[in-house]
Symmetry: C2
């Protein structure tokens, strides 16, 4: 770090590098001390039978949505089967591409983006290639903004671009339209033959428009399994291929998830942190705490929060039920949402994600002449200050009537992230059972799609279009 | 655009370039047609007296927090006084700096960032200087993450860096610590004398640590006025200096706000869209719709949403009251939060921000061989498709029991953004009156700060520290 000229106050501390035996007791933890005033232990005990029954039903694949339980042992199955084909494709992309553009939306977007921002430096795309260790990475196909396309295409100009198009069906509007634009751009700038080698697809094993196109054009293709829904798919090729292509250790990612699988098999709440999390949030929901604020103290977790919001919001928000999932990046948002959390309407609880050991540290420089009232902190590590802010805030918010759950993750490694993904997936499945919903479908997304196809003039939607037009004309502004 | 090789499907349409007379009827609009089933017109009429009284009290500066009403006519006063000193400083930064780092948090961060992302291209910092028209821009001082500092410092390496440190007092923890780090880095890499010319401060006119330091070191300094609180400060030098430095037309920004000032003086709900917005959300809140989801269809609006969340959340979230402010970027989040919004727990309403005329457009390429079911859209403009998705979604969500307010902004110009800032500021002031809170204070942020200072060992907080330690030791995990 001497090149930066700040060697005197940078301390790199990567004490834990992830040996297997050492790691087994470094599992994700749940700490409820800042939520204790919101419920009695007996309330959890009363949920034990429901949790045990739900666990048994899940493990026997006898719940609503049971066709989508492949994620339950996905990581261990994938490790057993090996990831050689994925690694080889990733290596080809990594060695050839200046830029990888991942085209996907929802579950075909958020998991990879969460892992990318968690594991790679901020401003990754601006780093010299030698520091990046892989191609630049952009995400497309997740909006319909012309301005968004303009800005992306301007950034791709003159670079050797690879695409990874991710869509089970190949007909989802946003990624399909983005693929049209990017493929046309690629064929025009690189030529049809080159483009064929620069396009990778992740899609259905046998059916669908994208699978068919891949077969015709000879695009290398990977499979979105039938038994894993979009929001549970980050550890399938959906997330693994782009992550491996930018140099993420997907073996460690899977290893972490597999360890979580093994450590979260006991259905008793005292022994299963994921189920305990699910049970506590269900208790709080029944008391009227209907919004959960997922808070974190590292900016790199912003998209872990977005992934979490899809997972829980889409799984539970149905039949008029569900905990509304929101997020806050602290300490940033203590200066925006903090006032509301401390003193606003009392229908909130918080789930705080803490990193036990952030990847590097920095000592606070001494500067007595600045007279900023902070000289007492000179020489202290930022991570310690950040964690005291976290502790102070949890105590303040809990005192203000916002129960605070604390999820502790060992560090910012692939392995910890694998644990995190599995922990919340399992917790969400249990939450859905306790909420009394099918946690694996999303019937509500059809309503806007039907309207949209009608308004766009899709053949076959003429009657709906006429009905919508009539409704619009009669509406009073 | 021929250099990009996509001239055949890019259409640049900047039909409206902002002439004053033409612009006066292009004001921000409120459309309630998708919320009509949630309330009767008579419910709004019943609020007219309260709105009229609150308006009179606001205009006479006789509300709680009346010392912080400077924003009411800030834009017109600033235009009358002129912005020459700001423009000159901005020009000096623009011509000399490779990079400008803005150091601030909360209201000293979100307004400038919202305007930056709204007005400048995505990936702005990666564009060649000739396309940027100003220095690269980064935001610091808004977190306590060592990893965040590492990544920023790595990016600044070898560049000519200017700082704009924004803090009324100079003692707010995050920006003060970031200033320590960045000043030390700057003095070490550029030397003390050069650093003095590269640091601009925006602070109190007369008092405080930062003002004192600026006087001692000779840093050029600009004033945070006493009568404008942080979350209303974007049109003071807090926002104007960094924005001018990257080439934003701050005259047009102020012009838009001044036009909104003039067009929103009538207190009657039928004549005042800002008050109508405030009244409708108050009616919905009283019916149990306690969460407002601010939704937008251009990714560039993400930080306008964050600015809005601070404005409303910090103004209203007190005394156990307040509408919880959340946000969603559509169509992206239709694939994550959409299920919940359509069918989850019914305590939501949405406020959708629509851009009548986005800054550029793109035609959907024809690609019948892709067989993606979208060929019927070939040749259609993306903006049209995006807006049909918006309309379809508003109708679907309203049918699902989520009233949808629609705020329409003419375009993505400085002038429209100025309107938007003033519109929501005025609406928020009225909302606070209708909610029965002081919309201009934030007493709740002291609780975590007191705990934090105690845990950090700040001199004078010894008793609080002992109390917190005792509380932590007795807590059951």
């Amino acid at each position: 770090m001497t090149r930066t000229g700040i060697s005197w106050h940078v301390i790199i501390s990567r004490r834990w590098s992830g040996g297997l035996n050492e790691g087994m007791n470094r599992m994700i933890q749940l700490d409820l001390r800042f939520a204790r005033e919101a419920f009695r232990e007996s309330e959890l005990e009363l949920l034990e039978p429901a949790v045990a029954a739900a666990d048994a039903a899940l493990r026997r694949r006898q719940v609503a949505g049971a066709d989508f339980l492949g994620w339950l042992d996905l990581a261990s199955r994938t490790l057993a089967a090996g990831t050689q084909a994925l690694e080889e494709a990733a290596e080809a992309i990594r060695s050839e591409a200046d830029v990888l553009v991942v085209v996907g939306i929802g579950g075909s977007y958020l998991g990879a983006r969460a892992a990318f921002e968690f594991l790679k430096p901020q401003y990754y795309n601006q780093l010299p290639r030698s520091l990046r260790g892989g191609p630049e990475l952009y995400f497309a196909g997740n909006h319909l903004s012309a301005r968004g396309f303009r800005d992306l295409l301007r950034t791709l100009e003159g670079k050797r671009v690879y695409l990874n198009v991710i869509s089970k069906s190949g007909t989802t509007t946003e990624p399909a339209l983005a693929f049209r634009v990017l493929r046309a751009w690629l064929e025009q700038t690189a030529g049809h033959e080159a483009a064929r080698k620069q396009i990778y697809v992740t899609t259905d094993a046998a059916r669908g428009a994208l699978k068919h196109l891949a077969d015709v054009e000879g695009y290398p293709s990977f499979v979105v399994p039938d038994d894993v829904g979009g929001r549970y798919s980050v550890l399938t090729p959906v997330g693994l291929l782009p992550l491996a292509a930018i140099g993420v250790d997907i073996g460690q990612l899977l290893q972490g998830a597999a360890e979580a699988e093994q450590s979260l098999t006991d259905p008793r709440l005292a022994a299963n942190a994921a189920y305990r999390y699910a049970a506590v949030r269900n208790v709080l929901y029944r008391k009227g705490l209907t919004t959960e604020l997922f808070a974190y103290y590292e900016p790199a977790l912003a998209y872990v929060a977005e992934w979490w919001k899809q997972l829980f919001g889409e799984s539970e928000g149905k039949d008029g039920k569900g905990i509304f999932p929101a997020s806050a990046g602290y300490t940033t948002d203590l200066h925006s949402l903090g006032q509301f959390v401390q003193e606003g309407r009392r229908n909130l609880f918080e789930t705080v994600l803490r990193l036990t050991e952030p990847p590097c540290d920095l000592a606070i420089p001494s500067a007595p002449q600045m007279d900023d009232g902070l000289e007492y902190l000179a020489g202290r590590p930022f991570n310690w200050v950040n964690d005291q802010a976290r502790l102070a805030t949890q105590m303040a918010h809990a005192s203000g009537g916002v129960p605070n759950l604390l999820v502790e993750l060992p560090d910012m490694s692939e392995r910890s992230l694998g644990q995190l993904f599995y922990f919340f997936e399992l917790a969400c499945a249990m939450s859905g059972q306790l909420m009394g919903v099918n946690a694996f479908d999303q019937p509500g997304v059809e309503a806007y799609k039907t309207n949209m196809f009608a308004l766009l003039g899709k053949p076959g939607y003429e009657l709906q279009q006429a009905a919508l037009r009539a409704q619009l004309e009669s509406a009073v502004t």
